[in-house]
């Protein structure tokens, strides 16, 4: 009789076996390899690295495979691994003007130093299912222009800034070491560095919706894409025992500089302001959404009235993390019999009281009628 909650241990073991079995699927079909996921589902890998805050293509591919393609779950797997890694220190800030860009566009100027480079993009594809992908067969290798790795690509923002049209980048937080949100709890009000860290690992869908909401009037900040660029940048690190920087890696990033209208204030004449987005790999939607939300969150700093969700620091930063959100929403599946039982007892008591009151009222009014 009393078996409903018994046998949890065996049930879990069987559930894990079943999950592993379903992950593998039909045994007649070859198992997908990490190399295939990395190469052919590379944008999934990019997203998992970005929101998992861990640049490791192999591990991200493993996470995607283990999670059966559920990217939220993959992000969680990578995060839970990342958090166990020891910290050697911080790399030097990457310099994206030294990027070897595969793609770089500006929507504010027709031509820019270094040129517009379309690169691989879905933007001008016609969204027609390509049935040729259903068939096997090699595909031709796309020709590319030779890359000039030595060429610096000045950022459009820097050019505007020299003219005074665009605010200088907000100063880094005064000398104090930058807080690390993976080590220290979030506190409000948050510095911009903390906000950007939070947004960088924030859920793409959440940031997309918030960014979109600013465009529809909930905290509009009149954005233009100053520049979106994607390519590889070197990462430098200063080992304590050497005292000078050495390059330790090359990573692919997508960067978005959003240029936004600003009316000016008593001290500052009208000029443009910035919103910034950065993501690992090729993730333009993420970088752009992040830039929109970053700018929206600067409302208070720029003396704008905070009226909309995207401008509300506590609302945005406390709800952006998909690992936290997914866990807490889904924990409702855990047993709550005790809480529910307490509620049952309370609601039953309240109902009995209402019934008793009604019965009393009814008998009183019956008495009244009889007396008339």
């Amino acid at each position: 009789m009393y078996v409903a909650v018994k046998g949890g241990e065996t049930a879990i073991a069987h559930s894990l076996d079943l999950l592993a079995d379903r992950r593998r699927g039909d045994r007649d079909i070859p198992e997908v390899t990490l190399e295939q996921i990395d190469a052919q589902l590379s944008l999934a890998v990019d997203r998992v690295m970005t929101e998992g805050s861990c640049y490791d293509r192999a591990l991200a591919a493993l996470a995607v495979k283990q999670a059966r393609g559920d990217l939220f779950e993959a992000v969680f797997l990578l995060r839970a691994y990342r958090t166990t890694l020891p910290r050697f220190g911080h790399s030097r800030p990457i310099d994206t003007s030294r990027m070897v860009a595969e793609r770089r566009i500006s929507s504010t100027f027709k031509d820019i130093p270094g040129g517009q480079v379309l690169g691989p993009t879905f933007d001008y594809t016609h969204r027609l299912l390509d049935f040729s992908l259903m068939a096997d067969g090699e595909r031709p290798i796309a020709p590319t222009a030779p890359v000039d790795a030595a060429q610096e690509l000045p950022r459009v923002g820097d050019i505007l800034e020299r003219e005074g049209m665009l605010e200088p980048p907000p100063p880094a937080d005064s000398g104090a070491p930058t807080q690390d949100i993976t080590r220290d709890p979030l506190a409000f009000p948050a510095s911009r560095a903390v906000r950007l860290q939070n947004l960088a690992r924030g859920d793409e869908g959440f940031l997309l919706a918030l960014g979109y909401s600013t465009q529809r009037g909930y905290g509009n900040n009149h954005p233009f894409v100053g520049e979106v660029r994607y390519g590889s940048v070197p990462v430098a690190f200063v080992p304590e025992e050497l005292g000078f920087a050495i390059e330790i890696a090359e990573i692919d990033v997508t960067e978005c500089d959003m240029v936004n209208q600003f009316a000016g204030s008593h001290e500052v004449p009208p000029q443009f302001t910035r919103g910034y987005g950065l993501a690992f790999g090729h993730s333009e939607r993420k970088a752009m959404s992040m830039a929109l939300v970053d700018r929206a969150l600067r409302a208070e700093e720029l003396s704008e009235v905070v009226t909309s969700p995207a401008q509300d620091e506590e609302f945005v930063l406390a709800h952006s993390d998909s690992v936290e959100a997914s866990g807490f929403v889904q924990h409702l599946k855990l047993p709550h019999y005790v809480d529910f039982q307490s509620e049952l007892v309370v609601v039953r008591t309240l109902r009995e009281e209402v019934e008793a009151r009604r019965a009393k009222d009814a008998s009183l009014s019956a008495l009244g009628q009889a007396a008339e």
């Binding site: 009789m1 009393y2 409903a4 909650v5 018994k6 046998g7 949890g8 241990e9 049930a11 879990i12 990490l34 190399e35 990395d38 293509r57 192999a58 591990l59 591919a61 493993l62 969680f76 995060r79 839970a80 691994y81 990342r82 958090t83 166990t84 020891p86 993976t182 080590r183 220290d184 709890p185 979030l186 506190a187 409000f188 009000p189 506590e314 406390a318 690992v323 936290e324 997914s326 866990g327 807490f328 929403v329 889904q330 924990h331 855990l334 047993p335 709550h336 019999y337 005790v338 809480d339 039982q341 307490s342 509620e343 049952l344 007892v345 309370v346 008591t349 309240l350 009281e353």
Partner: protein
């Protein structure tokens, strides 16, 4: 892709004792000490991602991982029961990463991690009760902003909570809060006892065991040191009261314990059974022994 995962030496054996690295444990222990020093105050801590999802008890797991030693005996309950799936899963986790002894017996345990219940068996000095907390801020549903609620705590500005309880009386004739019933700790901080039924609130008061509360997603730790007064909020004319059942436990006959209700057939027939499985089994065992000895005496 240069290496396979195995080549890079990343395997399960690479994890530290009790999963968390020693630096992280030290940071969490510092937060715990601060929490014990200021009973009921929510101490922010650098919560880590755990290999279990947020909402599954990551705060409690981080506390347990930071305090558990090789000589400890761990008990894990969820909804009062040792054999609910999440309790099984967390117990398995610690048996795996810390190799500690586990038990289902409240008396044997040195560390008890719990979700939503306080054991019926009274705790003693030296035991530690670790609560899993979803929302540590008792004022959160009245004031969503952290900046505001921290100020309210700092100033002991708790009128908003009293008003909400009063509104409940005005609307329903009684305080309708059934679980996560707010308490005042040591006469200073209002605290969320985590979603335990209010039935368990009196057990928190002056309990000889140390109570630690961990909220992983919200990154807060708070504590009630042994023998600390914990008062459930109420009014003079509406004193705090706990749930009562007209039934007793179907298995052990207890009239003192928190009862879970089960629907056992399509007609909606109910059975009531102790939510605390260990308490219930101990009682059944005692009854069985007593019956045996009576039988022996008669013979």
């Amino acid at each position: 892709m240069p290496d396979t995962i195995a080549d890079q030496g990343r395997d399960e054996g690479a994890y530290n004792y009790a999963y968390l690295d020693e630096q992280t444990k030290r940071m969490i222990r510092r937060a715990i000490l601060k929490a014990v020093a200021v009973p009921g105050y929510q101490v922010p801590f650098g919560g880590r991602e755990m290999p279990l999802p947020y909402g599954w008890g990551t705060g409690g797991i981080q506390i347990t991982a930071s305090i558990i030693g090789r000589d400890d005996t761990l008990k894990v309950i969820d909804q009062g029961a040792d054999d609910t799936t999440n309790a099984v899963s967390i117990r398995r986790f610690f048996a795996k990463v810390a190799g500690v002894a586990t038990t289902t017996r409240t008396e044997e345990a040195t560390v008890i991690q719990t979700r939503h219940r306080v054991p019926e068996t009274p705790l003693r000095e030296g035991q530690i009760l670790v609560f899993q907390v979803p929302i540590p801020e008792p004022l959160r549903m009245l004031e969503p902003r952290e900046t505001e609620t921290r100020t309210l705590h700092a100033l002991s500005e708790y009128g908003v909570m009293q008003v909400s309880l009063y509104e409940s009386i005005a609307r329903h004739g009684r305080i309708s809060k059934a679980y996560n019933y707010p308490v005042l700790v040591n006469g200073r901080y209002i605290m969320s006892p985590s979603p335990i039924p209010k039935f368990d609130n009196p057990k928190l008061d002056r309990n000889p065991a140390l109570q630690l509360y961990g909220a992983g997603r919200e990154k807060r730790i708070y504590a009630v040191p042994p023998h600390t007064p914990v008062k459930s909020l109420d009014f003079d004319d509406h004193p705090f009261e706990i749930e009562r059942w007209t039934q007793c436990c179907d298995l052990c006959g207890s009239t003192e314990s928190f009862l879970d209700e089960m629907i056992v057939d399509d007609e909606g027939t109910r059975r009531f059974i102790c939510s605390d499985t260990d308490y219930c089994q101990e009682r059944q065992e005692a009854q069985r022994l007593e019956a045996q000895s009576q039988k022996g005496e008669r013979q």
